[in-house]
Amino acid sequence: MQNTKSPWFVVERSEALASWLLTSRKDVRVRNEKKNDDGVDLLVEIDLGVHSFPNLFVVLVKGTLSSDTAQWNDTLSQQFPNGSGSFSLPACLFVVNVRTNEAQYSWIAEPVVDKDTAELHFDTDGHFQPLNIDAVNEIVDRVRVWYERLPNHLKHRTS
């Protein structure tokens, strides 16, 4: 979701930092999807071993030279004027300040589970939290739990 007017180093640094943070988990692989021009920057795979299909989620990356979170929320609402409901996978927005290397994240399609449900809650207001290795662990763990519950959810919906 990088603005094409962003300087090259804002785009490249933000995606490099996002990729590096995500792969601090040894079970995570990152594919750069920018070439597809569909708004998705990174497709993230959570490796479950050679016999299992990986859990997937999407990360949109926004690089910035500003620490002003109000600007980030504006960017988010401009990106999704009609909501973010088009995602069928869990999705996050990472905002990276390339001057300080500090990053924040907000769910866009948030995985929410209950006993028999696994839903995505869509949020374009932006509830940003600090992005660090602990946050990456939490994101990955929530995505894994969502995929674990998804078969139950689908079974209940079809029965």
């Binding site: 300087p7 090259w8 180093f9 490249e12 640094r13 490099a16 930092l17 990729s19 590096w20 792969t23 040894k26 692989r29 990152v30 390339v98 001057r99 290397n101």
Partner: protein, 155 residues
């Protein structure tokens, strides 16, 4: 994590370290990835504002850490790669990346030498050394006349 994954993390870290703003409005360098099949080198790095000034880098990443005494990063560069780097008509460097800590280190490989069994940690990739590197590369190119004069194929 396999060696490809470690290598990718090393490349991301290398780009981050080389493009640190260091209080400026723009980085000093722009790394250009050469592709997985390019021999010996991983990046052609341009000097920002002087795109005709550049150098080549081989990036080696490790999760193995350091030797103890002396403290050196546990990466290796083969003699074949060293020979190719020395024969290159542009400045060439090895960048060793500790992909656990996020630190990177530079080594010039422009003069004849043997293989690199481990990497000296005297030259961390930080703001001071980025400026020194820029000066070194600019000095190298600015003292050479790279214009091909009297070509057979001129109009």
């Amino acid at each position: 994590m396999n060696s490809d994954d470690i290598g990718e993390r090393g490349q991301w870290l290398f780009c981050l370290l080389m493009t640190e703003l260091c209080g400026r409005d723009a980085p000093l360098f722009r790394p250009r990835f050469l592709g997985d099949k390019f021999p010996t080198f991983d990046y052609l790095v341009e000097v920002v504002d002087h795109p005709t000034y550049y150098f080549f880098v081989q990036v080696k990443a490790t999760t193995q850490g350091y030797t103890k005494d002396p403290v050196r990063l546990k990466i290796q560069v083969s003699v074949e790669d060293v020979v190719r780097m020395v024969s290159c008509p542009a400045p060439t460097y090895v960048a060793g990346i500790d992909s656990e800590s996020g630190n990177g280190f530079l080594l010039s490989v422009n003069e004849s030498r043997g293989p690199v069994p481990s990497l000296i940690t005297k030259f961390p990739i930080n703001c001071d050394h980025l400026q020194l590197l820029r000066d070194e590369v600019c000095d190298y190119w600015s003292t050479r006349n790279m214009v091909l004069e009297g070509s057979h194929f001129r109009e």
